[in-house]
Symmetry: D2
């Protein structure tokens, strides 16, 4: 197959993740012929960008490739003519994440950087920025694909497609691939041969899956038993960033499908909260841990001898995400029609959810984008919580776009991880004020809140 040289732009290129992404691209050098790779970050991230950029250049060189690696803090310099724009930026840096986690915990609630109050505020900070990026893309690279892994990935993808009207968007996450690997491990089968068939459906960090073997037998029930039966506790490990506290087995068995790690926040909130409160008092919330790991990683990246992804990066969370991201690019570029789990427009794939919303589903990735495998309908035990979650997401995205306070409060009220009552509003207000620097859409309300505070 003849390949043309492609241009990839990575927004948030100064992230500690970047070496993993680049490793993934290098691994696929025979499938995608990269001409230019642009790493973009903001002025405040310039130092990190330069450290990571230098390291990336070393990696590319070590691989014997002639890719032009460019660094910039002006995304408009990078975007012209891009084929793929990948996004992995974090508005407000890890400090914002730490606030997202610690403020809710200070009120006895799980913050959770994607699904709880923290996730709502991550959406509030991120969506205005990504919509600005889309504006630039419309002007500078109107044919590019947007490959988004900025969290909350599902909501950000929905904002981009529904409000930004950028259809060539694929939202990604590394959770599904982690669960595929776990199934192979449990079954003792070889992943390389694709001996299992997976069907995922739901939303980002809120999906379920079924599994079949080569003989056409569904092995979902078997996997539920093996992984979640009380007597098998600890035998298999899910996401590294989420504690493997046991589910209530009979409830999982009743679902008839395999949950993901994030369901722990909803299905066993009590234990998860207790665990996080312990981290909170030890200043070891996930954000705080990642901050430490990142500092270490950047120290490593500074080593002018290092020209490969260091082992320590795997502790960072987000493992396999390069596999997912690079594979999507590869599959679009080469029309590989690989079966992957992505966030994309529903169009009736899950008929329990609105036609025009974004869902996370198994899809065939073609050169014209994801073609979802049809799912149909869920049973009540999954359907209701899923529908609530999507409605919650839609209120969150709408509030993020419009800056409507009532809608933000509605999103808070709908979220199962947030306590309900005056506390809901108090938490929202406190977080609005704490995120003042990153929420242009809520400025008027924040000023009112601050004024009211002074008056007390």
């Amino acid at each position: 197959m003849v390949m043309r040289k492609i241009k990839i732009v990575t927004i948030g290129g100064g992230s500690s993740y970047t070496p993993e992404l680049v490793e993934g691209l290098i691994k696929r050098k025979n499938e995608i012929d990269i001409g230019e790779l642009w790493l973009v970050d903001i002025q405040e991230g310039k130092e990190k960008l330069e450290i990571v950029g230098a390291m990336v250049k070393r990696m590319v060189k070590a691989a014997g490739l002639d890719w032009k690696v460019n660094l910039t803090v002006d995304r408009r310099e990078a975007l012209p003519g891009a084929d793929y724009v990948t996004t992995q930026f974090r508005v407000g840096s890890l400090n914002a994440r730490i606030r997202d986690e610690r403020i809710p915990l200070s009120h006895g609630m799980i913050g959770q950087e994607t699904n709880g109050a923290g996730g709502i505020f991550k959406a509030f900070r991120t969506i205005p920025v990504i919509l600005d990026i889309i504006k630039d893309m419309k002007e500078l690279c109107p044919n590019a694909w947007l490959v988004n892994f900025t969290n909350p990935s599902g909501m950000v993808t929905e904002a981009v497609i529904k409000y930004g009207k950028w259809e060539k968007t694929v939202g990604l996450c590394n959770v599904p691939i982690r669960y595929e690997k776990m199934s192979y491990e449990v079954m003792g089968l070889d992943e390389a041969n694709q001996e299992l068939y997976f069907k995922f459906a739901g939303l980002n960090h809120f999906h379920w899956h079924r599994v079949w073997n080569r003989k056409g037998e569904e092995v979902t029930k078997y996997l539920i038993e093996e992984i979640y039966k009380p007597e098998n506790k600890g035998k298999y490990v899910g996401m590294k960033n989420i504690k493997d506290i046991p589910f209530n087995y009979e409830q999982i068995a009743d679902l008839g499908m395999l949950p993901c790690s994030y369901h722990r926040y909803y299905y066993i909130t009590d234990e998860m909260l207790k665990d996080e409160l312990k981290e909170y008092s030890n200043h070891e919330t996930r954000g705080e841990q990642v901050k430490k790991t990142e500092a270490e990683l950047f120290e490593l990246y500074k080593d002018p001898q290092l020209d490969y992804k260091p082992e320590q990066l795997s502790k960072r969370g987000g493992a396999y995400y390069s596999d997912v991201a690079c594979e999507v690019i590869c599959s679009i570029q080469n029309d590989k029609r690989v079966n992957m789990v992505v966030s994309t427009v529903n169009n009736g794939t899950i008929i329990d959810l609105p036609y025009d919303c974004v869902v996370e589903v198994s899809s065939m990735i073609t050169s014209h984008g994801p073609e979802p495998i049809n799912w149909g309908s869920f049973e009540a035990g999954i359907r209701g919580p899923l529908q609530l979650q999507k409605s919650f997401e839609q209120c969150t995205v709408e509030a993020a776009v419009t800056g409507d306070y009532g809608k933000a409060l509605q999103a808070f009220t709908m979220n199962p991880l947030i306590l309900k009552g005056k506390i809901t509003k108090d938490l929202l207000n406190e977080m609005l004020i704490a995120n003042k620097a990153y929420l242009p859409q809520f400025q008027q309300k924040i000023q009112e809140l601050e004024a009211a505070k002074l008056n007390f």
Copy 2:
């Protein structure tokens, strides 16, 4: 219009409510010509039945009517040829309700006799009994209408229609009429002239409504402001049995529709829980209060001079329910086509919910039953919680019918008032054991649980 004499059978006839029902029937003596009125109760309730029955006979006599009032503890004696069977029984008596409320509170959760863990167990106790009643009705009065006000009214109605296949069923509740009266009060308009037009939709104890005036203007927004703006606190009173703790105003305003009292359990759970915990420690939970009121009422009912509904009954809760119940019977009997809010089959009235489920919606009550006014779709802020609630109800009803423990645990896990984690299962188990006498469908599981307890 020529009327034929009709036969009404009231199951749970020994209830303290009965005089209100009979008062409603007497008030409509010109519209429905009653031949026989049968009050049915179980053996354990015989004493109460006799007290109430004697009182009812006095009321009928005082009204100068020749209705034959019959009392029995054998429903099969009462049912033959019935035109209307009304149900208001309580399996396990008020003691069961007290347990439904106190056990969850002992674990820091709202029990709530219709929507929380208490409501789930009320469904578990009631549904097997009502399905037995339906079996008798199929044999003894195959043309009768079932008018159900046994709580949880929506779930019981769904069980009767979906599992009992008894289509001639109307589920009732007195909450909507209370809110209609409140709107008239706020607007300063006359209810008798029907100067407002109401549209309700949702589920029993989980519905929203819109209101229009005679000029065709929607006054919903105005009513939200008048009733729920913080400065108007205390101005208007909702259901007597639910504390008027203020909602978060901006969240209610964002709904764009009027909520019902029961939404307080979901929207301001924190305050409601604190209030109930206080009642719990004072042994003043709703069930305990009602038990006292009932004892007083029965003392009054014993008075051989009393031949009218005593004032005190209005404290009992359930006010206006006779208006609703008697008006439904009247409207069916006379094809009055009155616009009322009832629990009936969805058939697409609310397209966000399953086609074959039971919803509570404004309907025209005809001689062939309720014809719901079309509703369509809800916005995300209402849609998600409503879809969750219906899925929760469907799991609950399925567990009630099948006795499936996993399904019961799923229902518990889906309910927003129940804490999630090991505590979910502990609570379910404790309540199963406490309700052992009333749960034939769960006997095997209860025995296992008891055995496991002994082994500890």
Copy 3:
């Protein structure tokens, strides 16, 4: 109830129908207090407008009413501050209708002024005009209700609501009321007492209905047998303007619902076509007959003594339409909540059809407009043809709005009364050219067609 004086504007006021409309208004003088009645027509219709206008003034005077009756050929003079705008105009006059019927018949097809090729062209001529009227209404009477009886009523109503964005619109037709009267006749019951309950659903001139009696028994099956069994042929008469040629009884019985007269065009096309071809060769198509009747009517109307609706008008077709139109106005004005069949937005009333399309369904007419009674889903035998018809309507309306030739040809191809093949296109082209004067949206295509013709 206190009434305020209202202003009614009738577009197409020079129609021979107008006296019937005015008779209906006079009959309801105690319910609607009219201040002004404006009759609007176009310059070409001025003579007729003056004849009818004079007659209407005599009728109003004879009724002892002080309504101000105004005539104008400038609708912008009439519209300011209107409360109700009724539309009954006919673009291209009866000559256009005659062409609509005769051109298709000349090719061996039923033209049909609402459902066939004729109906498509009536939509093509009417929709641009009504969208212009809406523009004026937005400016001059933004609170008015549009009460449309211009045919094809369903498609015109859909265009007004979907493309004109005028929500305060009710589409009307006299077919349902005709069938209600027929049911009363068959059952030997009194219409005044509303002893039957009707539920209609479908599209304009393409609906089915079910009927119940006071006892709550469905009498639909009985009515199908009585009206359509071969042995009862001729016993009951449907619409005067449609021949009572018998259906295939077993097919109607299988529907399980009562059809309307217009279904003859689809269910027994062969006989209907033969009958129309006879009329065609005798120059007695419906349009030609109506033209004669109209000429006679206008002669009568000229009589300065005539101050009441003459008997002959009933031959005109459209009987009872004043009952429908005036009753809708009355019910909106007084919030009467009457149960009527109107064209209104679906919103899921019939879940087999698009959510945002216009359907013709039984509705409660309130002061804020029609509230449809929920219908749900149809069985396959009705569902398929109904879905086809709505899709056909949507293509027709889109073609009428955009002037897209391919879309017009698609609408022709979808219509069951039009033959398929080269003939489809030939017919479309011939009718486009014949309607040149009334189709601004298709001007370019028509010029191309004319040029191509010259070149042959």
Copy 4:
């Protein structure tokens, strides 16, 4: 991959098609390891079965394979332990097909062996037989896959899944693959490299498709122009068995998708009918032609030297069907996840059609069966006719299963190729009588019809 020996049973094994199927199996000998191949036919077809069977044995031997080829007229002998049952039988033989075509044509209607009156009767004859086969399969080979190519393939597949409750069913047709090949031809691209991506959706013989190239560009519009623009007439050939009479180009262009050959019956009925009437008068209807071809083929098959598929078979129609059939078996057997177009359960793939109906859509063929690629919704121009067609199919299948005459007449009335009126019923009656020997479900009605005929 280790393969186990599989057993294939072909019902209708005496068909002239069989050598093509066997050729396809031989071509895939490295992918599917066949142990036994059973050819089953009925007693009347024994002679043909033996001719074909001998020929098949020669083919297998010539390929150097050790498959056991067995012939039987008792399917219960063949079925035990089967892995795949393929069905290609024809109830009533080609004589029935000739009647299916000629009787409608004698009344001026297209008979059409799958979509018209002929297709309805083919369904009536076939469905009772295939439901009997399913009964045997439940008993004798409960794990087998049913691979159906008996026409009308979509309706037969729906009957098997919905009424026979045999979920392991795949319905096949060779039309989609023919159109894929045509696209490759038009684009000048290589099929082997799968350089185009196809998405088909609709029903058997009633589907549309879109096409993309390797760069991710949709080429559908280009293909429509190339294939259907009047100036390109005759450049490309569709199905051999359907005349390439030109569509109305603007109508096809408006669809925005590529039609299939069978759409000619609906979109250009007039020309198709004229053409068939010519064939009718020359005794050259499709059935009559095929009968001749078959006779010639069987003469060839008798040649004891012939051990390969003769060239003449390609004239027979149904070309490439072996590719489709064998590829499905291969893909199930080896979990190849090939993208193919099959008839399978909708489950919301096309949301315009009922959830539980059978549709023909692009699917990934896995070892647990087809996983359809999600489609979503169609535009009005396709949606309406498609919904009508599915409703028609559902009435036909229901009539075939129940023998309900009203339902059969409804199906006839809904079919666009059948004239409407008394003629509809006359045609139905005549065909019922002509098919008396093959319609056990309609026996009573047929006897009534015959009795009524005698009485005239």
